[in-house]
Every structure is written in structure tokens, then in C-alpha cells.
Point group: C2
Chain length 749, copies 2
């Protein structure tokens, strides 16, 4: 259950496979295309954290020149999959080790030739990408192999590279260029390990080594290619470092080091499902994606909404990270979670600039955050399919919950790790700045004696500019409470830093108002039927069925939200909104309320976002509806395996991988089926395994203690690690158990 | 200069002429179609104040069966203008007397016949409509005349009449029916005054008298038709009353009484322009329209946005009445103004219901007000021309300035008439209820220590749901100040009524808050360039030129506002908004600010509303730009003469007459060119006549005193009437003059 395999290849699969077979190491992502593929097949090596803007187009990540590029000619005929000469093809991704393989057989004028390749992006040295490539002939033939670095790369809003420079030296090739906007150098060097002679060729933006080989029947020719990528963000000498980087290791040793890293990751992160192979593969595949795109190496980047699978959504970081992925990392690899948190702290000034731009105080985080934290989101984000005109959307200026999501992530990280350092060094400041933003954004309604949050867009983006979105108001309340607690923590643990902070922000007199704001903030409550209205006057919208609404669709890509969208004036929602609130604040709502809202909102949810299904799955488990829980889990966990997600909104391409769904699949499993609720003082477990599952096993790291948990149909077993003086209180459906270093406890439920 | 004449007739003129040649008497309006015209030519007798809803269509005014219907057959060939037999046609409207005439000559098989008719809707007996009809033959021929009451009437959202009943008695015919929704009986009776024998015929919804006449060459046959219309809203016996009504008078006597009434009206209302015949006719034509549709007879109706020219805009009363027409009536026929004011007081409960519907206190007046004051405006008012889907607009729920407009009208009426009675009897209550509505609507912004008015649509409907629309906020401030003053007046003049009112509304504790609200309400101020921002963040919208914007139009009827409208995200505005505020509160703003805002907003105004040009004309005069002032005046004053207004928005027909523009033409003349500013304590006059005008003469009734004012190039002459102990203080460009009963004063300027 560790391999994703696909046999055969047709043109229409190339784009989806590019995402499905993604290799990545946090620093870069390499799409699951084949070595002979170029920009036309959307081959791309996406760099994390390096953004560029070309002319007035959208600013997006830079794709490095393609260091894996290799093309073989057999008797002068190019071997290219898929084409009419291809007679067999299989490609696979080993998600345990992050290794991609392909094997393709061609028949050229009756002569059979097989290409094999194996490749990986090193998890040990994130600049390194390694390829082992071989050709086997079944008849005598003459091969010409061209392998090198291809600067003609796929760009959505490019080109992003200019001034290509070349360098060759014996078996190494280098190709360098500079980004357009910031003039950052990007260097790719390749060390081609072969005994054959190489002849070097250049074209405008490509450097190639040519190998001419006569091959006898049954003979195999193989070479390794070690590629190293450095940019001016990494080093002052990207050319030297990439040249050194590609020569310092051989393929086999690099592979061993790479696999060791992956083994370490899985040790803390694997989830074993007994009894359901389909779910097992889908979940592991989701975890693979989370781990391969996570910034293990840096706190200057986070995880973009489409991971490292391309330039979609401008390579920007959305709320997805905090709300859908962070929990996984906090509980399995808190050092990565810390990087994600620190990315927000490091981009606080961008959030301050955005708040000031709109006339607010504090920090209004970017809806689409890149390197500086300034907002990459445009005001006209979608094209109207009926008029071909840009359509004004309110993602950037009205989805204020982003600042609460960031604050939530930081404080959750602290609660579950106990890491005060992050709070004292920027965390409290960031949370406080979010609270100050909301204070300057809020209004007081004298008539109702309460504060309100007006004119916002909640998670359900089909309903823009609404008042008192329940989710948003609740998240703002959380932010205000977290502010109190974070400042208290600082006051108690670092009083000098506290004083400095309050002095720096000049906000001493605001603290009392923040308290009042918190106490008088309106939080929409359940009505007599238990329904929490998604926002003011939601109930007055048209109550059309999803089916009827969809029958009105005139163009398959038409946007259902926006000014005149079909859903805009109806109760149909894009994604979990109130339901998300009920999963985040599960303890505060009765099962009756959760059930009432699930029943009410579920049939009205279009799931136009890949962030929706996992939340419905978690709430379904919470209210004991394992059927819905399982269906929504599969929908989430398999999204990148079967490529079933939306590819276009208007004329906007939104394909790629779905890290938030990947994180959602993990949450649906651990929080949903496992029924794990993590609090500051204890871990609650109320399992509700799907019928076919015999057991569910996983590790969590909670407040610096490692626990291995196994849940069967009627038993929860917990083993505490000896290593880190583990100690924790567990609450298994009401039974309180302590589990300390080396303990193994079990509890029937 | 009293006659509007049109020679010839083509099919495409019929619709426009229906409005252009309108007869009306406040109770009903009869379109300027010909007697042989039916529903196909949009013949209609529109009843004021009687509304009906058919199925789920828009509720709209009821058209009475057509009592003027008459069709002549010459040798069996029907005489119908225009058709191929018509060889000559002329029709005219005498705007001094409200009399319509037509003369049409046909050639039937070489024989010439001329139809002549003269008709009027009695200004003396508003139920009465009179027709004198004659046929002259130039060769021997055989005439068949059918004249009667045609129940097959034009309806936009009908039919509105059911259960037709007929009655004939010697020379009288009656046709009755009941409205669909409220079952109100509508009766039309006709008395045909002729010596000839009548044969009566019925068809499904038509009653006809047939006259067979052989006519000799040179001979004329003439008959009179006296028609009376009563509904169940007027009387318990509409049939009896209409039968009595059509028989009590002969044509000549009725005409004399009718003309006498018109003479009285013109006496107080005429405006004489010396030196500009075009302007003179256009202005008198505008005044004619205002006087013919005004409710002289009732305080249960007001003036709909398209007058009595049809069912367009549901026959509903908009802010147009208070803001564009009321001033004319206050100053020339205050008894009509009082009816208009009392209509609002009488519909206060409808406004209360609307406020309560949205969760507010007080009175939220209907954007489209009919008989009860409940809002006839629908949420989906326009059809998207690209998708054919209904488009959500925010006229009904966000154009809250309507309540301030109503309050403004009531208080202005008091200030300029001194009529305390209206304030004590409902006026103060209505103003207070508007203030209470705004108090419950408003928000306090702690961050800025001020109240704000959020989420409104201002007069510029292309920008919906904006915050702190300058016009709206200023009007709310006026309402709050008027509330203070109206309550003070009541307290001083009718303390018991004051106590009762405060007790009834239970709002004693709100009065102090209303004061605070007034003091701390945010009123957008001029920036360093003198520009007052139309609403928060208006300046951040795209600054496209009107020309460029119009080049993007894909469909001539596409709506420029709404969710995805071309103007929505730009600075292009539909109509005067800030500029309207500057004319209403002219004294509070410097000439520099007025000029800056005129120059800024004028090129950005699309004038998509017929309410726009007159306001620009007034402000242009105010800042001394007579060129702009004159151009915009003509655009306003000639709108119904040349039919140059928009006929469609989306697929919505919006043709008809434009009373607001008619009132605007009067305001542009008196307030603009005359430079008359009416205050509670004095009348200021700062004339700025257009170059070609030698003089401008008019009457005003100010605080129950009648004055005749003549303005020449350098002299203002004022004559006070002896009749009503006239007394007033005049301020002619700084020279203070008193003018008492019988005085004639003159002042160079």
C-alpha cells in the first residue's frame, strides 16, 4: 500500500499525472511529467518562496530550468510518450520514499527500445534532484541521447527568467538566469555521470549534452544525473554552490540519505488503517503530499494552496495552511509547524501594510500571501464567462477571517506544543495585531448593545459582503481571547518584552477596549430549531435545491458567486462555513445543534471548494453519522489520486494538488473517526471507526510528549515514548487515564 | 407658446405621442392616443391610487375601460390613423387649458373624410372626461360610427379587471368590472349626446353604440360624449355615480368650468421667459405636466414616477415627489403640496411595517410606494440581458435615504408655508419615526468616535451597498435636526399631543440618543482639493472615462449597475449624488467646493436617470456657469417633448412622462437661473439669467404670502399681493428689502 501506479498514458492524462506523481522536498516540486516532456506538457520544477512578476500579470512562483530534461532518439526517431510508437508505459510513485519511476517501451521501425528512469528530489539536501536513466535495446540500434537543462519552461504568467548564461566543464553543465522583477539569479547545474563522451550544445535557453551510442540487441545504456538548484535567495554564489552541489555525491549514496529522511518522517506521521486498503492508500498518499511540500528547511516559506505542483493560485499561501494543514504538523512534526507559524510572524509587516492600506490598525493578513506578506490577491480575480469581462470579487478586501485564522494557528500551536518561545518572540505580537485590526474593523450597534463584524466574506465565498458571518465572529472572539492569554503569558514569562511590545505598538489604552470588545461581540446563536444562521439575513435568501440551481447553469465554468452568480441570492453555499465553526469549537455546541446544522447546511452545500468535504466528514463523525463521514472522507482523501476536483473557474485554471484536502483527510481520520480532541490540559478520544475498519493506529506529539495510539472497535491503547519524558492525561469517552514515559495503557470504550 | 402640435403620424410615434399628448386631472390620465386606438396602440386611462396585482406579477395601477373609444367606418372601410388611407393628420395639446385636438383626413376609395375631435379630462370634476367628435365628408358616403367603452385595455402586468357587466339606457352606456386582487368595482358610464338613433352592441368586454349615418358631400356629423369614471375607492355606488356623473352636464359648460380651473392654476404657477421661445414652451409644458397629474382632489395619492402616463414603475411614488416636484407645489399651489405631504403621513404605517420587516424601528418608507405605503419594489428589479436571469438590485432594501427625503419634504413644507397643522397632525410623528429608523440603522465606530450610516445605496444607484454615502448621511443629519425642531414646535404648540405621541411610540429615552447621534454623525467633508467623496473608498474605484466605458457596452439595454455592471467598479455615476447634496444645502458649502465637485463629478456622470440633469443645471447656475446650466436645463425641460429618455433597462420598459424632470425644469429656472433660495426667515435672490433671456417672471407663495417676482438683466422687482396680508423679507444679493401687502419694490443687482 505504498505505491501509486499508472499504466498506459494518453495525452489527456499528462496534466493530471503531473500533479498526481509530484515529487517535492519543500524547497522545490517537480511535476510527474516524463523526462522528454517540456513546457508543452506542463513539465515544471516549481521553486518555493521565489516569486516574480512579469509586466502587469499576476505575480507567481518561478519555475527553475528543467534539470531532468532528457530526450532519446532511436535511429533518429524521438522517443516520446505518449505517441504512436509507444507500446507500453508504466509510471509509479513510491510514497514511502518519494521516488518516481517510469518504464516505457517503444517500437521504432519494428525495433523495440525501453526507457527506464528513477528519480527523486532529495529530502536530505533540498537543492539536489537525482535521476537515473537507462535505455535498453532489443534490436541493434543507434541512440542519440540529449540530456541537459531546459530553460524553456512552463509559465502561467511568465516568462520569469531573462539573461540566460551557460557554463560547461567536463561532465557538468550549468544554466543560469535572472528573474524579471527582482533580478534574483537562479542557477541549475547538472553532473552527468557516464563514461561516454559528451558533446555540449546550446540553444537560446537550453544547454544540452549529446551522447551518441550504438546499442546492441539486449544491451542497456545507463547514466546518472545529479542536479543542483540554487537561487540568489539561498546564497550569494548560486553558480558555485549548484556546481558543488551536483558533484558532491553519487546517486546511490544520495538515495540512501534521502530514504533515511523519509523513514524518519513516516515514523512519526504514518497512520495505519486495518481493514480498508482503499482508505489506507488514499490517506497515506495525502500524508505523503503534506510531507513532501512542507518547509522542513525554512521559516521564510509556507505551503501554497496547490503545494509545489505549479503556479496555480500564484503559489500563494491561503488560510488553508492554518486551518487545514497545521494541525497535522503540530501533532506529528512540530518543527515544521513552527516554520509555518514563523512564516506568518515573518510576514507580519506585510499584514500591517495591508491593514494600513484599507485604513485599519494592526494586521490584516494577505488573502494570498507570498514572500513579503503583501497581498497577491487581485480585486478582479475571475472572468465573467458571459461577457468576458473581469469580475470584481471580495476575496482580498473582505475575507477578514484570515487574520483570525492566523491568530488561531499560532495559539493552537502554543496550546498543543507548549512552545512559549514562539509566543514571546513574535507570536503574541502577531495575535495582538490581529486583534487590533478587528477592533478597528468592528462597529458598535447602540440599538442592540453589541459589537458587530460587518461587510465580510466568510468561508462560503458565494456570499460576499455579509454581516455577522457566524464563523468570522466566532474566530474574532477566539482571537480576542487568545490575545488576552498570549499577553498574560508574556507578562508572566517575559515582562520586559511585554513592556517593549506595548510601548512599540503604543496600544496600552486599547487593551481595555479589546476586553470590552470581546465581552460584547455578537456571536450568532442557534435558533429554536438549533440552526445557527450563517450570516445576517441568510434565512431570507431563496431556498432553491442544489439540483435545481445546477439546472440553471448555462456555462460549465460559470462562477456561482460574485455579483450575479446563481448561488449569490440563494441559500446554496460554496463550502462548510457554520459547519467548520462547529468542528473548530466542537465542545461549545451540543450534539443536537451540530446535528441540526449538519442536516440544514449539508444539502445546501455545493462543495465548490476542496476544503469542504473534510469538514463535513469530521462533523458527521462527531454526530455519529459514519456513512456521511466516510463518504466525505473518501472524497477528500482521493482528490489528488483521481483528479476529481474543479479545473476551471471562469477561464482561470485551478488544477494541481490539494494540500488542504490532504490535511483534511488526516483530520477526518484522526479528529473525525479517531474522535481525538486535543486540548491544553488533556487529549480526549471518542472513537467512531467506519464499519470496515478493524483498527486505526497513529502517533501524536502532544506538548513535547510522543504517544502511539491504537484504536480498535472497542479498545483504545496508548503507549507513551520513553524518550522525551512523555506525560499526558487522556480522556477516553469520560474515562480519565494518565500515561507517562514508557507506559502502555488500554481502555475499553 | 401654449400649444404642442405634431403633424403627420407614423407607427413608431404612437407610443411616444401617448405620453407627449397626455391629458390628466390627478384622478386619471388619458394617453395621447387617438379615439380609434386600443390596447395595441397603448391607449390607456390610468387611474390614480387604484392598484391591482394579477397572479405573481408586479402590482400596478389599474387602467379603466376606455370611455373615449370611437371608431368610424366609411363605406365599410375603417378610419384608422396611421394607415395607408390617411392623407393628413395633425394633433395638438393646448397646455394652457389641457385640451387635446386631432384632425385627420382619410381618402377612402377616392372619397375624402375628415375626423375631428376635441377632448379633455375635467379639472373641475375629476371623474369626468369629455369628447366632442365630428366627421366631415367631402363626397357622399355612408358612415358607421361605433363609440362606447372598451374594456380590452393595455396592461403591462395584467389583466386587472374581471366580471364585466353592462348596462344601457337610452343614450347612456355603462361598463363595470372588478379588480382581481381587492375586488374593487370600476365603473365607466358614457352619455352620448346626439340626435341619431343608437344601437347597442356588446362583446366580451366592450359595450358599443352604433350610429349609421349617410353623409352628403360637405356635411358634418358631430356628437358629444360625456364619460364618468368611479371606482369603489370613491363611492359605495360607482355605477349610480358614474351614470349621474356623465349626464349632469353638457360639453360646453363642462369645458368652461374646466378652463376656469386651469386658468386659476396658471395664475399662480406660470413662469414667463422673455427672449427664449424654446425655453418658454419647454418650461410651460413641464409645468402643465406637473399640474395635470397632481392630486388636487385627494391626500390619499401622490405623484407616481411616470405620472399618469401608464403603468410603468408600477405607478409607484418614489423620492422623485419630495425631491423634485414638491418645491414647485409648495411655492405655487401649497394645497397640493399638503396633499403630497399627507399622502406620506397617511402611509406611515406601511413604512413602519417595512422597518419592522428588516428588523428596524421607526419608519423605513417604501422605495416604490403605492396605496398602503408597503413597498412595491421587488428585490430582482432588472433582467440580466446576458443570461436572461433576474438580477438582484438593492433599491428596496438599501436606498434608505427615502426616509430622509420624506422627512425633508415635510419639514421643508413647514418652513416655507408655516403650516404648523401638518407638523402637529402627523408631520412630527413621521419625521420622528424616520429618525428612529436611522437610529436603529446606524452604527457607532469606536475607533473613530462617530456614528456611520453603512451599507446603503445613494441616488447613484450604479454603486449599491456603499458606506457613508455623503448625500445620505447629510440627509440623515437633516432628519435628526428636523426631528428636534418638529418636536420643539409640537411641545410649544400642542404639548398634550406631544406627550401622547412620545407615550404612543414609547421612545422617551431615545430622544437624548437621537441628539447624540445627530452630534456625532459622520458627514463626509471636502478634501484638500475641495472634493467630497461620494462614499467611502469611491476614490479607489477605476477612473475610466464615460466614453471608454460606453465603448465596452455589448448590449444597448445592459444595466450599467448591479452585481457585474460596467459602472459598478468605476467612478462613473448614474446621476447627481454629491452634486444634489450641494444644491440642497447650498448655503453650507463654499463656491470653491461647489465648483470643485461640479468639475469632478460632471464628466463622470452618465445621467442614466432623468433626475440628474436638472440638478447639474442648478449647481451650474449656482457657480455661475450659465452655459452648462442652460444645456442641462434644456435636457430636462424637453425630455417629454422630444422623448429623448431611456426606454428600456434590461428588458424593462420605462417609457412615459417624467414628472421629476418637469419639476426639475421649474427648479432649474427658479432656483437656478432665478437664484431663488427660500429660507424660513427670508427669500434670497441671486439671479443669473441665461444670456438670451431678457426677463423671467413668476409668482411664489411663501409663508402664506403671494409675491410676483420679475427678474431682468440687472433688476429684481417684487410685488406683494394685497389679498393675504403678504409680508416677506427679501435678500437680493446682500441687499435686504422688506415687501408687504401691496408693495412693489425693485432692486438693482
Amino acid at each position: 500500500m505504498w505505491k501509486v501506479i499508472e499504466k498506459g498514458l494518453t495525452k489527456d492524462r499528462i496534466e493530471l499525472n503531473g500533479s498526481k506523481f509530484l515529487l517535492a522536498n519543500g524547497y522545490m516540486g517537480y511535476r510527474g511529467t516524463l523526462e522528454e516532456h517540456t513546457d508543452k506538457e506542463l513539465a515544471a520544477c516549481v521553486l518555493s518562496g521565489l516569486y516574480d512578476r512579469f509586466e502587469d500579470k499576476w505575480r507567481e512562483p518561478v519555475n527553475a530550468p528543467n534539470g531532468f530534461y532528457t530526450k532519446v532518439y532511436c535511429d533518429g526517431v524521438p522517443l516520446f510518450a505518449p505517441n504512436q510508437n509507444m507500446i507500453n508505459h508504466v509510471q509509479s510513485l513510491d510514497i514511502r520514499t518519494g521516488v518516481f519511476e517510469r518504464s516505457t517501451t517503444f517500437a521504432i521501425n519494428g525495433k523495440k527500445v525501453t526507457l527506464n528512469s528513477q528519480r527523486f528530489l532529495s529530502a536530505d539536501d533540498v537543492h539536489l534532484m537525482c535521476l537515473r536513466y537507462s535505455v535498453t535495446a532489443y534490436e541493434d540500434c543507434y541512440l542519440k541521447i540529449e540530456t541537459g537543462i531546459d530553460g524553456e519552461i512552463w509559465d502561467i504568467n511568465g516568462p520569469h527568467l531573462k539573461n540566460f548564461v551557460y557554463k560547461t566543464d567536463n561532465k557538468t553543465l550549468s544554466l543560469g538566469a535572472n528573474t524579471i522583477e527582482l533580478n534574483v539569479p537562479v542557477y541549475v547545474s547538472a553532473n552527468i555521470i557516464t563514461d561516454s563522451e559528451l558533446i555540449t550544445e546550446y540553444t537560446s535557453s537550453k544547454i544540452l549534452a549529446i551522447i551518441d551510442i550504438p546499442l546492441k540487441s539486449g544491451q542497456t545504456y545507463q547514466f546518472d544525473k545529479m542536479v543542483s538548484v540554487y537561487t540568489g535567495l539561498d546564497t550569494n554564489n548560486p553558480l558555485t554552490d549548484s556546481l558543488t552541489g551536483c558533484c558532491k555525491d553519487n546517486y546511490n549514496d544520495a538515495l540512501i540519505r534521502h530514504k533515511t529522511r523519509w523513514e524518519e518522517r513516516w515514523k512519526t506521521s504514518d497512520v495505519v488503517i486495518d481493514g480498508d486498503k482503499r482508505a489506507q492508500l488514499a490517506l497515506r498518499y495525502s500524508i505523503y503530499h503534506l510531507m513532501c511540500i512542507a518547509p522542513h528547511h525554512s521559516d521564510r516559506v509556507s505551503i501554497p494552496a496547490r503545494g509545489l505542483s505549479g503556479q496555480v493560485y500564484k503559489g500563494a499561501v491561503f488560510w488553508d495552511t492554518e486551518m487545514f494543514m497545521l494541525r497535522f504538523f503540530i501533532l506529528t512534526q512540530p518543527e515544521v509547524a513552527k516554520n509555518l507559524i514563523r512564516y506568518r510572524i515573518n510576514t507580519l509587516n506585510g499584514a500591517r501594510r495591508k491593514a494600513a492600506e484599507y485604513g485599519y490598525k494592526g494586521a490584516f493578513f494577505a488573502w494570498e500571501s507570498q514572500d513579503t506578506g503583501d497581498d497577491a490577491c487581485t480585486l478582479f480575480n475571475i472572468t465573467d464567462v458571459f461577457t468576458n469581462r473581469p469580475m470584481r470579487t471580495y476575496f482580498r478586501d473582505k475575507q477578514v477571517h484570515i487574520s483570525a485564522d492566523v491568530a488561531f494557528g499560532i495559539w493552537e500551536y502554543y496550546l498543543l506544543t507548549g512552545d512559549k518561545d514562539v509566543i514571546i518572540n513574535g507570536g503574541a505580537e502577531t495575535i495582538l495585531e490581529c486583534a487590533r485590526f478587528f477592533l478597528s474593523y468592528a462597529y458598535y450597534k447602540p440599538y442592540k448593545h453589541r459589537y458587530e463584524i460587518l461587510d465580510v466574506t466568510g468561508p462560503d465565498e458565494y456570499h460576499e459582503r455579509v454581516n455577522n458571518n457566524a464563523f468570522t465572529n466566532k474566530m474574532v472572539e477566539y482571537t480576542l481571547k487568545a490575545t488576552r492569554n498570549a499577553l498574560k503569558l508574556m507578562w508572566n514569562n517575559a515582562p520586559d518584552d511585554y513592556d517593549k511590545l506595548i510601548h512599540k505598538l503604543g496600544c496600552a489604552d486599547e487593551l481595555a477596549i479589546i476586553d470590552e470588545f470581546c465581552d460584547k461581540l455578537y456571536i450568532p446563536q442557534a435558533d429554536k430549531n438549533g440552526i445557527i444562521e450563517q450570516f445576517d439575513s441568510y434565512h431570507s435568501l431563496e431556498d432553491v435545491s442544489l439540483k435545481k440551481l445546477k439546472e440553471k447553469i448555462l456555462n460549465p465554468n460559470e462562477y456561482l458567486g460574485g455579483g450575479n452568480g446563481l448561488a449569490t441570492t440563494t441559500k446554496i453555499l460554496k463550502q462548510a462555513d457554520v459547519v467548520l465553526m462547529l468542528t473548530l469549537f466542537s465542545d461549545e455546541y451540543s450534539e443536537k445543534i451540530k446535528k441540526a446544522n449538519f442536516d440544514f447546511y449539508e444539502p445546501r452545500t455545493e462543495h465548490g471548494s476542496s476544503l469542504s468535504s473534510c469538514i463535513y466528514s469530521i462533523l458527521a463523525s462527531d454526530i455519529g453519522d459514519s456513512q456521511w463521514g466516510y463518504e466525505y472522507f473518501l472524497k477528500t482523501a482521493e482528490i489528488d489520486l483521481n483528479g476529481s476536483s474543479k479545473q476551471y473557474v471562469g477561464d482561470l485554471y485551478i488544477g494541481g494538488t490539494h494540500p488542504a484536502a490532504n490535511g483534511g483527510a488526516w483530520m477526518a481520520t484522526i479528529l473525525g473517526f479517531g474522535g481525538v480532541r486535543l486540548k491544553e490540559s488533556e487529549v480526549c478520544i471518542s472513537p467512531r471507526l467506519p464499519e470496515s475498519w478493524n483498527s486505526l493506529s497513529f502517533c501524536i506529539k502532544w506538548k513535547n510528549s510522543d504517544f502511539r495510539i491504537e484504536i480498535t472497535k472497542n479498545l483504545v491503547s496508548i503507549a507513551a515514548s520513553c524518550e522525551n519524558k512523555a506525560n499526558g492525561q487522556f480522556n477516553i469517552k469520560g474515562s480519565i487515564k494518565n500515561c507517562s514515559a514508557g507506559d502502555k495503557i488500554a481502555c475499553h470504550y
